[in-house]
């Protein structure tokens, strides 16, 4: 169906470093392929080549060829390829142009001149397929993130493409919405024999039905094309080096094996396969290493905090004490009030009722300048926080608000640069950094003044394995030095690995406030759209199936 031969692409005519270089592969009818690679390896660029956006919209140059059903993209008429190749993009906000669900699906069908009667039949059909039929007349902005992605999928399915490309479709979704989306894809795959290409960082769920992987390296070259399990057993070092995310269970087993605490026939890709592929695993590896939070001095406390926005309840009766040097994770479904809670606690937004005390003084009485010396806040989009033109100035900015000497500032900035692995980038413009570097820079600006409390809103979102690891190491170091960290996240493994306390939010209320270990004992986290971390999932699976390969060593 798709035939890519020697494809190379440059964004500038004279640039000698291509974005993707010399790629060749084929995708046959009904075949499903995972497209993996670190951030910036050209995955999205390749997508643009496959759906005919490039070379038409390309300013640079392109060599080689892509043919879809024998037709080259070079001489394809705009709009015709979309009938064959459909794409679901990452951002649920920016892929629609109409206001209601049915209009949005109709838009695509109108473009390819489907007769009106046929359109209404197809709308019902695809909405049924993605289970959104009850929302046919809803306004798109009232849908949840997961529903929006399902709608995006429905729009594409309505055009009945032969090939479906999913470009990080679940990156913005909570764990349950992610699982639902993957399940939907799986059902559709069974019904229709489409070719599917999936680009993802989080491989859980996908690997159970996708075998073939096409791996791009940092410089846009093909590193591997074949079953994922094979490259992991043959050459896992190269995969890890490139910063490609492996399924978490695979990571877990590999790390255990490295420490001689596990042995396997071949590396497992799913939890279900683990018992049959892993011959031995030290039980200690499935146990918690982080001690629960100890009660220390309270630095920040909220009592009966309520926040309403436009007569809608966002937060309700929040009581929360933050102890010194703790690591708190805030989890919950999309729209449960996680971000609002951090904004209110950090003094960015005011609560409608209730009090927040920072070091026993009401937060609203604090002078802005002193408050910011105590509390740092890292926003979801790092670019929002950049003010100056160079990385150095960016970090120095908050120090310069105080009467420090320039030499002291310089020393401090260099220390922070090293700490955040940004050395060598001092004179770059913040916008020119990679996603991971931008994220680390935004954290750097918030810790340079030795802030005691640091809030982070989904800091690992959209990052590849390598930059997530770097970021978490950096936060762990800060935490060890006594900074309290409060982090909103969807990633349960991060909660499990780093947090000593976890808050679960539902409809603006804290419904659980305990240690992660206690939370995992809860038998039904799915009612809050949550999931269990990998090690707990594995334990549960072993218990249910009464496997006992896990042996406790002394």
């Amino acid at each position: 169906m798709i035939n890519v031969s020697n494809l190379s692409l440059w964004f500038h005519e004279d640039n000698d470093k291509p974005i993707i270089s010399n790629l060749s592969f084929q995708l046959d009818r009904g075949e499903t392929m995972l497209l993996l690679g670190p951030s910036g390896s050209g995955k999205s660029t390749l997508t643009h080549c496959l759906n005919g956006i490039y070379p038409r919209e390309l300013d640079g140059k392109m060599t080689g060829d892509v043919t879809i059903f024998g037709q080259s993209i070079h001489d394809a008429h705009p709009g015709t390829i979309s009938k064959q190749v459909g794409v679901v993009f990452q951002d649920p906000e920016s892929q629609f142009c109409m206001l209601t669900v049915e209009d949005e699906i109709a838009f695509g069908l109108e473009n390819i001149c489907t007769p009106p009667l046929e359109i209404s039949r197809k709308i019902d059909e695809v909405l049924q397929m993605v289970d959104l039929i009850d929302d046919k007349h809803s306004v798109i902005s009232s849908l949840s993130g997961g529903q929006k992605q399902k709608l995006a999928l429905a729009c594409v399915l309505a055009l009945e493409p032969e090939i479906l490309i999913l470009d990080e479709p679940t990156a913005n979704l909570d764990p349950q919405a992610t699982q639902e989306f993957i399940k939907t894809i799986q059902t559709i795959k069974q019904k229709k024999s489409m070719g599917i290409i999936v680009i993802e960082h989080q491989l859980e769920g996908w690997v159970s039905f996708i075998d073939r992987s096409f791996i791009l390296s940092k410089d846009g070259k093909c590193m591997y094309d074949g079953p994922l399990a094979r490259i992991i057993s043959d050459n896992k070092e190269s995969v890890l080096e490139e910063g490609i995310c492996l399924p978490k269970i695979t990571k877990l087993v590999l790390t255990a094996a490295e420490q001689n605490k596990a042995a396997y026939i071949s590396p497992p890709l799913t939890i279900k396969d683990t018992p049959s592929l892993v011959t031995y695993m030290d039980n200690s590896f499935l146990e918690k290493t982080i001690p629960a939070a100890h009660q220390a001095d309270i630095i920040l406390s909220a009592s009966r905090v309520t926040q309403n926005k436009k007569q809608k309840r966002v937060l309700h009766q929040i009581d929360f004490d933050l102890y010194e040097s703790s690591f708190v994770a805030i989890i919950g479904a999309n729209g449960s009030g996680k971000t609002s809670l951090t904004k209110v606690l950090s003094g960015i937004e005011a609560p409608t009722h209730g009090d927040i005390l920072l070091r026993q003084h009401p937060i609203r009485n604090w002078k802005e300048k002193l408050l910011r010396k105590e509390i740092g806040y890292v926003f979801q989009n790092p670019e929002h926080q950049f003010i100056t033109d160079t990385v150095f100035d960016e970090i120095a900015y908050s120090l310069r608000l105080h009467p420090y000497s320039e030499s002291y500032i310089e020393e401090k900035v260099h220390y922070t640069l090293v700490n955040c692995q940004l050395q060598g980038f001092e004179h770059r413009h913040p916008y020119s950094l990679s996603q991971g570097q931008k994220r680390r820079l935004s954290v750097a600006t918030m810790i340079v003044d030795e802030q005691k409390i640091l809030f982070l809103d989904e800091p690992t979102f959209g990052q590849d394995a390598a930059s997530t690891l770097k970021l978490m190491q950096m936060l762990k170091e800060r935490h060890a030095k006594g900074t309290s960290i409060i982090m909103v996240t969807h990633d349960m493994d991060i909660v499990d690995k780093y947090a000593d306390r976890v808050l679960v939010l539902e409809n603006g209320e804290i419904i659980r406030d305990q240690s992660p270990d206690q939370l995992w004992k809860d038998s039904d986290l799915r009612r809050w759209h949550l999931d269990y971390p990998t090690r707990i999932q594995l334990q549960q699976h072993l218990e249910v199936n009464q496997h006992d390969f896990a042996i406790k060593s002394t």
Partner: protein, 261 residues
Amino acid sequence: MTSLLNQLNPSIKAFTVILLVCLLTFVFDPFTPLVYCLFTILLTFVCGKIAWKRYMLYFLIIILLSVGMLWTTLAFADEPNRPHDTMEILFWDIPKEDVTVALALTLRMLAFASLSFMFIFTTNMVHFILSLMQQCKLSPKLAYGVLAGYRFLPLMKDELNQIRAAHQIRGVRRANGIKESIQQYKRYAIPLLAGAIRKAERTAVAMESKGFSGERQRTFYRTFTVKWQDWTFLVGMLLLFFIIIMISIKLGYFSWYKGQF
């Protein structure tokens, strides 16, 4: 209350409103626009399904504005031709001529407002643009661009709030004075524009991936046609206008616009 007005073809409705606004500018007496304005409001309430609370609020604002306009036209009126022909309003002797001019101007504004509100409150924006594409051959490229932009506005507002909060937490002081304000908005502009361009590009790519090529050849899920009701509305509104003019001539109020202000 019926929803007759809401069901009319949006393009014809818009054309009617524009035509009548143009015709009303030729009339310069208080009586004609007053009567026409009252009729339009009545029609809106009887034949339109509208958010009347909001309608009242908006109309109140317009009335306040027009009272202000009435006062300024009275206070800064031209030298009257017959200065002794006066009337007393609130212990204030004003030349009759000036009152007529001021009232004519104010009521004309109210008539314009009532016509525009009749359109705005009974028309779905999306339907209007779809109808423009189907009846007036508006280019789909422009039409869907406007629709996509329409979706963007609330997103942009959210983003500006985010940036403002993000800068505040970096310790950027709240701006004092005009110079600092300008500088502050310059700082907001870069991330806002960067975000907007990126979003716009993503939307464009997504639209193109759905087969949108900007060509005129396409079908429509919601088809808008011009029916006899639409023509009746247009002709009826025009007839109403001429009947009111006839009455106003009969009663001796009528006068053409001769460039007064």
